[in-house]
């Protein structure tokens, strides 16, 4: 197993390098311009100067090389310095990857936004799992019952209706008509008292529910299918004939086996948390990583887009590996050599 992991990790390195180059090439070749969003009153000479000040006058391979050095050498050294106080090399003149929109280090932007993304999207992922698993189990056990039919219908609704629709409906219902929850997420809220905590919960309920509904719908279908696959197998009949209680058969034997594909799906889904839920973040103004990515793409802020997408690529490659390893650990029939 260890050999397998090491092999996979080594193979990941050229994969990631190729990914970073492809991302860079696509962004560079795209017909966008960081000065494109400036008002028309800014004359072209000024725009050209701004482009030069951002380093756009240099050829592509130099810019790519600079970004590689900044990402793989300078930024980790910076993190080392910040977290552990270990200073290697010249800390003063180290060039950091700067966002073209804010002229501040991209890593700082990412660190600033990760809390709200993790809170809202992470929690919704968690709730989605917690809701989907029991529902999927009950649906499969009582296949074709009323609960199953309703559950299927709701799941269909959940993953066909887009989040920008459910989000807006939720706002109109709960914020405008009923006035229960605020429609704007306040990122400056610090939890210092019970009232603040209640406020934080109130402003998180709608985005978390909207996203959890979407994710639970998808996961519950998989759960139901996985349990159905296992309920008809011989070992279930054996367990029952050995006198095990129905509860034990379902919750211990069937569930464990059915969870294997689900755990894999969850592990693969974790990188998507960091991608943020771009649309939901926009609607509720949660202003997390998804919104950062969208704004950077629209504003042609190439360093930010590159760094973010590359970080997502790293996470996806890593969690792919984790999913494979978990699968191998949970299912003794799988062996990696």
């Amino acid at each position: 197993m260890i050999q397998y992991i090491i092999r996979r990790l080594l193979a990941a390195i050229p994969t990631l390098l190729v990914i970073s180059f492809v991302i860079f090439a696509i962004l560079d070749l795209a017909p966008n311009d960081p000065t494109g969003n400036l008002p028309m009153t800014v004359p072209p000479e000024v725009r050209e100067q701004i482009r030069i000040s951002l380093g756009l006058d240099q050829p592509m391979h130099i810019r790519y090389y600079k970004w590689l050095v900044q990402f793989f050498v300078n930024e980790p050294l910076n993190i080392l310095q910040h977290s552990f106080g270990v200073t290697i090399g010249d800390a003063e003149n180290r060039t950091r990857i700067l966002s073209w929109a804010t002229r501040s280090p991209v890593i700082d932007l990412i660190v600033e936004r990760t809390p709200q993304t993790l809170w809202v999207v992470g929690l919704s992922f968690l709730f989605g799992i917690l809701i989907a698993i029991p529902i999927g189990i009950v649906q499969a056990y009582r296949q074709y019952s009323l609960f199953d039919q309703i559950g299927t219908f709701v799941a269909m609704l959940g993953f066909s209706v887009p989040t920008f629709f459910t989000g807006v409906v939720a706002i109109i219902l709960f914020s405008v008509q009923l006035k229960w929850f605020p429609m704007i997420y306040d990122t400056t809220l610090e939890i210092t008292s019970w009232d603040n905590f209640v406020l934080q919960v109130k402003q998180m309920i709608m985005p978390v529910t909207v996203l959890a509904f979407y994710q639970a719908s998808q996961l519950s279908r998989f759960m139901r299918a996985a349990i159905l696959d296992n309920l008809n197998l011989d070992y279930v009949r054996t367990a029952r004939s050995k006198g095990r209680s129905e509860n034990a058969v379902l919750m211990i034997h069937v569930l464990r086996n059915s969870l294997i594909p689900i755990v894999t799906l969850i592990a693969l889904g974790i990188p998507t948390i960091f991608g943020g839920a771009i649309i939901t973040e926009q609607i509720f103004r949660v202003n997390g990583l998804g919104q950062l990515l969208i704004i950077a793409i629209e504003g042609a802020d190439i360093p930010t887009v590159q760094t973010l997408t590359f970080l997502f690529a790293i996470l996806i490659v890593l969690f792919n590996l984790i999913a494979d390893v978990l699968y191998g650990m949970l299912d003794p029939r799988i062996r990696y050599d």
């Binding site: 000065t35 969003n37 000024v46 700067l98 600033e112 405008v176 704007i184 306040d186 509720f284 202003n287």
Partner: protein
């Protein structure tokens, strides 16, 4: 009796005085909440990516003079507006002297001096800074500090309108002590300063989260007693315009929302709830059709949409070079429908490319307010454009088939659809095209889809100018400004229209100081463009914002920051 009368007068006046003293206390009204759906990325207006940064920074850093919502200039940090009459502007129009009001302090306690203004000029004019407002500091020889509160700006040429530097939200004054060493290439790296500028304005930055939210608090050292009324300011960003309008007009979570580009029906419906007020300010923005005077045929290769030759173009457009066609295209459009469908109260029918300030608005072109399809058809018939069997007019083998492009935007696509139908009625076939805004306006010389390259027959977008003086704006349509390969499409003359008489008027305006003469020249240039149909104006666009009825004070402003008078805002 007299004693009681005196006593009661004394008591009443004491109560009244105490009342006014209490009412005028700074920070009495709690938190003010603004929603700008395009979130500011930095607090440094000189490194801005758009108007949002200029607005956010305007509550902290201030210029010498500001424009109010009617376009009138007011002294802000300066004592008075320098003019030739009061000796502030030299007779030869080559220098202007500003006097700063004494006693103004930065929010960190230090004194505002002319050295800060000199530093601001050095910051923005340094070529490596990439300063977005560097054209406000054009043609300057030097900026000198004559004494601690007097600034003299010396120009290279005579400037009839010398009020560009340090006027308006594009060119405020920065603190030298804070930004020292952040000039040139280093400007990008001073993140701490860029995000927390020290200013003289009514608020100061407490926390700045880029593209998200800014938290301000009242500046204790602000020069006006009892202002600002609010102790805290929350400047939230993100999301879209419709939900921003909703948060002010329906849920009252926010007090003010900016730039509400929302369909008029939706906005009026939200306003019916009665919780908020919509303000529409009209500046200089005109949505117009640019007419291509050159031939954009792809078969021409490098000469596509190129102006070839001196003052007489050797590469004319096959049919738009015909005056009759241009006039007919304009007459066939019912502009009122376009306003009603797309803009509502945020738009008016526009017949001039120079609609404002009001003194410059010409009334010679009001014929365009009425649609006249019959006249359009008559003109085309007379000019020999005969309808073919498919209903499309042609002459000498050239069909009236137009490629009409604009940016991707639901209102613009609606306008395109209407105009296509209107032109069908006069026998003109139209193909509609829309391009992503960041590409269309991006100016990438490698892309064929920019508005500068104009690889189409007609294109539509909005242009405007900042400030109140139209000289530089009208100079956009001179012959030397023609957008072409040789200047990497950097000229401002997209139609590639060239008229030596127009150039003469523009040259005359750059040396004329008298306001009445300038007005006459500006109107003449506008009329020349309109009557030759170099551009076809459609809608005079306004900016729409909304504020909650809980507060009082917002007046909108298309000439400067909409938050220009935020120090005066208070709870109702």
């Amino acid at each position: 009796m007299r004693k009681t009368l005196l006593l009661s007068i004394a008591l009443t006046s004491a109560v009244a005085l105490a009342g006014t003293a209490w009412a005028a206390e700074r920070g009495r009204d709690g938190e003010l909440r603004l929603l700008y759906w395009q979130a500011p990325s930095t607090m440094m207006p000189y490194l801005s990516g758009g108007t949002k940064e200029l607005e956010a920074s305007s509550v902290v850093i201030e210029p010498l003079a500001r424009y109010d919502n009617d376009g009138k200039m007011h002294p802000w940090l300066a004592e008075e507006i320098p003019t030739v009459a009061n000796g502030g502007v030299s007779e030869d129009l080559k220098s202007i002297t500003w006097k700063i009001k004494p006693g103004i302090k930065w929010s960190d306690g230090s004194e505002l001096t002319s050295a800060d203004a000199v530093f601001t000029y050095e910051y923005c004019s340094h070529p490596d800074t990439g300063c977005t407002s560097s054209n406000y500091f054009n043609d300057i020889v030097s900026v000198d500090a004559l004494d601690s509160h007097t600034i003299q700006i010396n120009f290279t040429v005579a400037k009839p309108f010398p009020y560009a530097p340090f006027v308006g939200y594009n060119a405020p004054i920065m603190q030298k002590a804070q930004f020292d060493g952040c000039i040139g290439a280093k400007a990008q790296e001073c993140t701490e300063q860029n995000f927390n500028p020290i200013g003289t304005g009514p608020f100061k930055v407490v926390d700045f989260k880029p593209n998200d939210v800014i938290v301000f608090e009242a500046n204790e050292l602000y020069r006006e007693e009892g202002q600002p009324a609010f102790s805290k300011l929350l400047f939230k960003g993100g999301g879209d315009a419709t939900s921003a309008a909703r948060s002010v007009l329906e849920t009252s979570e926010m007090h003010y929302a900016w730039n509400l580009q929302v369909e008029p029906e939706i906005l009026t419906k939200m306003a019916e709830a009665g919780k908020g007020t919509i303000i529409a300010g009209f500046g200089t923005s005109v949505e117009r059709l640019m007419v291509n005077f050159t031939n954009p045929d792809p078969d021409l290769g490098d000469d596509r949409a190129e102006y070839l030759g001196g003052n007489n173009n050797r590469n004319p457009h096959p049919f738009l070079a015909d005056y009759a066609v241009r006039r007919a295209l304009s007459l066939a459009i019912d502009r009122q429908i376009l306003v009603d469908a797309g803009y509502g109260s945020a738009g008016k029918v526009g017949c001039n490319v120079l609609p404002a300030p009001a003194i410059y608005a010409s009334d010679a072109n009001d014929e365009c307010k009425t649609q006249n399809v019959d006249e359009a058809n008559r003109i085309l018939d007379e000019a020999g454009w005969v309808r073919g069997s498919d209903g499309i007019r042609a002459k000498g083998g050239v069909r009236l088939s137009i490629l009409y492009q604009t940016s991707t935007n639901s209102v613009r696509q609606g306008t395109q659809a209407f105009i296509k139908e209107m032109w069908k009625a006069i026998g003109v076939e139209t193909e509609l095209r829309n391009l992503s805004a960041s590409v269309f306006f991006g100016g990438d010389p490698g892309s064929p889809d920019t508005y500068q390259k104009f690889y189409a027959d007609i294109e539509m977008y909005t242009n405007n100018f900042s400030g109140t003086d139209p000289e530089t704006y009208m100079a956009n349509w001179t012959c030397k400004q023609v957008s072409r390969r040789a200047n990497t499409w950097g000229g401002g003359n997209m139609p590639r229209w060239c008229n030596p008489d127009y150039d003469a008027l523009s040259a005359e305006m750059s040396t004329t100081a008298d306001l009445d003469d300038r007005i006459r020249l500006a109107k003449a240039m506008n009329d020349m463009l309109m009557q030759d149909y170099a551009m076809i104006p459609l809608i005079h666009r306004g900016g729409v914002s909304a504020f909650s009825n809980v507060i009082e004070g917002p007046r909108g402003n298309e000439w400067d920051s909409e938050l220009w008078n935020i120090a005066e805002w208070h709870l109702r």
